[in-house]
Subunit: 241 residues, 4 copies
């Protein structure tokens, strides 16, 4: 089935428009936190409309477009099989070359509402050694509840990247996986949460790298990690409304 | 006792308003000097009003709020037992999850008027090895009068972080402590002085780290450190008015 | 033959004016991506007008001028023998001291439309060890199709730098060469493509450096590199119009 | 003799005003190139007025003032014995605590018109190991004509820093010295030239540091260094008017 934006119910079109703005704004966070260069990296967010049109959608960055040139109208809307839906303009953009990986995550992880991919430097460095980042910082215990795991080497072009992400993260507290020789993918409850995980995974990858350069780091006992993770997930921040 | 902002004397309310502006502005220094990412880090400043209302107050960052969204009205006012005082609005924000540590410092160190906490990268790297930063730079002798000490591993949730800070710093010239596996806390005569210490501790942690990567650093003899510290504390800058 | 801008056909003058704007704008990318300090670095772009005036031209940065002070009118127009063409103003600027190297590339590589030179930190570090950057990242396979090669040590002042670039790159997939003890030169289909290669070569030099600091990196098998390079060159980005 | 600004001849007052603007503007380059944090670092420039008033003057940063708060009117005018000259305002600022070192350089090196001091990270790291930066980059041969030398450990408070700078640089091609455990001082024909040297010494200190982290660097033969230095000093940039 090929979906066309103009054929969707008005309230779904409204949700699409809102999500395009959100995802466009979130892309500005990637260069801001120095997670990407040139056109690399991408953010997506799920639109939960299965009850309205029979399937969810998601919004993602177009392929190879500069961060300077992004905007809500450039964001590509896709179905969960990774096909873009038409918006009535003849020159509508092609979605990110990583779209299939994002689609696979949404299809196989129901609770996930946002996915981010970057080649951020320190996280990618750990990935190219195939070495997980050990949990030796309280902020890492807070945010990820343990080490940052390594995913398999996988080529673009089929579902092997998406499968590698899902298989690595499905039984993990971590919202970040370092795909071997490639770079980090992060997941979250929505796009913003996945962007936060992308910022934090680079931060902890960098800090632990620097710590390790001059000697051994002190491990945090597992029960302390558990205690920090539990508290941060339930107490930190403002009360949810 | 639960304090309410509207019940305070007018001149104390004035001091609270001024301090909220100061502390809000000081928070902008943390991302500016790249000491924090996302919502991490916090600055507080004491309000010396014990002679007016029987106890001092302090102002601190709200928990989990982005640096982009801060402003004087978002700053939380607390008593020295770490409880926020009510400001009459139903949606007033919750204070930083590190509030108990700040409160402990103010309660146990009378001369301290400002406290800052970050996870700045190089300082946190030394902290995760549990290794003090040796005093091998004249700017470090100037500012800290010796090495930057390590504080104990301590979990959030009771007064163990505050106690670790106070016990490490109470007999030290250093205004910075690196809490093991966690990150730096700095203290000062006011919020700005503690922010300066936070900037400088990262700077010296970074420079000494880089120096050590390629070989041994040259120690500065203790009497030279003493001479530099004494001069800087008494001669540097403009005359106090 | 000494060319004078005023003597060129009107349509060629138009192409010159457009290219000066493009090259001036591209120079802003070098400080933006932190590839240069002070006045170092330069971008050039070929103007394909051999069918109109018997030879191609190219536009390049003036020598020793600050990036703050650049603009289209400051860009120098040269013939392919590296001589600037006169523009009728007595104070017209002298071209970059690297002009001969750019000219040599255009003369000996017909398909190349842009050249960039920087002293970007990590690429120059590999260059000063005379060590090629191994291909251990998928983004490096995508962009460069293999390792970043080292070019010979060559002094400025004759065609030895240009010759070193061309001999190293003519049979390579890489659009970047690290000239020993000197720094990277990159080539591309136009100025923008060469700037992209300059950004990416620093990014991969930096990431692989950091990866190698803590241990061995995992090589990517040659057939996977081939597959990634082929796909990226043909599928990534928006369809060419 | 105590000089008073109001008592100087009108043309000298004019030169003072111009130099204060120049030196104020040059200070903005230090944070821009990330050579300083907080209030650290300083630039000075000589005013050649010995033929008018019997001695030269120089302009320097006030002590302990934030870079945000600088401006021409904040710049302090000094005689070559390092005493500030009065400007008629009761609250005129005290000059940098490094003023004596700047004054010593101007007094003992007639051709020097500008001096800069920073604690830039990589240069200070080499300084704290007491290890000169070897000349393994063509840009370093261009700019400094050889290695960056180390100066003695010297305390602030008498002329020992100034003496260390002059004794290290007087027979060197280098315009930069790394004072042991302290940081770089650079000199130049004017303030801008000394600022350029401060930017370049950090750049080469950083690049050679990074190169050395992963192995041995390739030395550049002395006659090639001589050739590069000679050419750069005489050919690079636009013709002097």
């Amino acid at each position: 089935m090929t979906l066309n934006l103009a054929d969707l119910p008005a309230d779904v079109q409204e949700q699409v428009a809102t999500t395009r703005r959100v995802v466009s704004d979130l892309h500005a966070e990637l260069p801001r936190w120095e997670l990407v260069v040139w056109t690399a990296g991408n953010v997506s967010q799920r639109i939960r409309v299965a009850d309205r049109i029979g399937e969810d959608l998601f919004v993602i960055k177009p392929s190879g477009v500069s961060y300077d040139d992004l905007g809500p109208e450039k964001m590509v809307v896709c179905t969960l099989d990774g096909k873009k839906i038409l918006d009535g303009t003849p020159d509508s953009l092609q979605p990110s070359s990583d779209t299939a990986a994002h689609a696979y995550v949404y299809t196989h992880m129901d609770t996930i509402g946002g996915v981010v991919h970057t080649h951020s430097t320190y996280a990618t460095a750990w990935a190219s050694r195939g070495e997980e980042v050990p949990c030796v910082l309280t902020m890492m215990a807070d945010e990820f509840g343990g080490p940052i795991p390594i995913g398999p080497f996988a080529l673009i072009g089929d579902d092997s990247i998406g499968r590698g992400i899902v298989e690595t993260l499905k039984d993990s507290r971590s919202r970040a996986v370092l795909m071997q020789n490639h770079g980090p993918f992060t997941i979250g409850s929505d796009g913003r949460d996945a962007v936060k995980a992308a910022v934090m995974v680079e931060e902890v990858a960098r800090t632990v790298h620097i710590a390790r350069q001059l000697g051994d780091v002190i491990p945090i006992p597992q029960e302390k990690i558990d205690s920090l993770f539990d508290r941060y997930q339930n107490v930190y921040g403002q009360p949810k409304k």
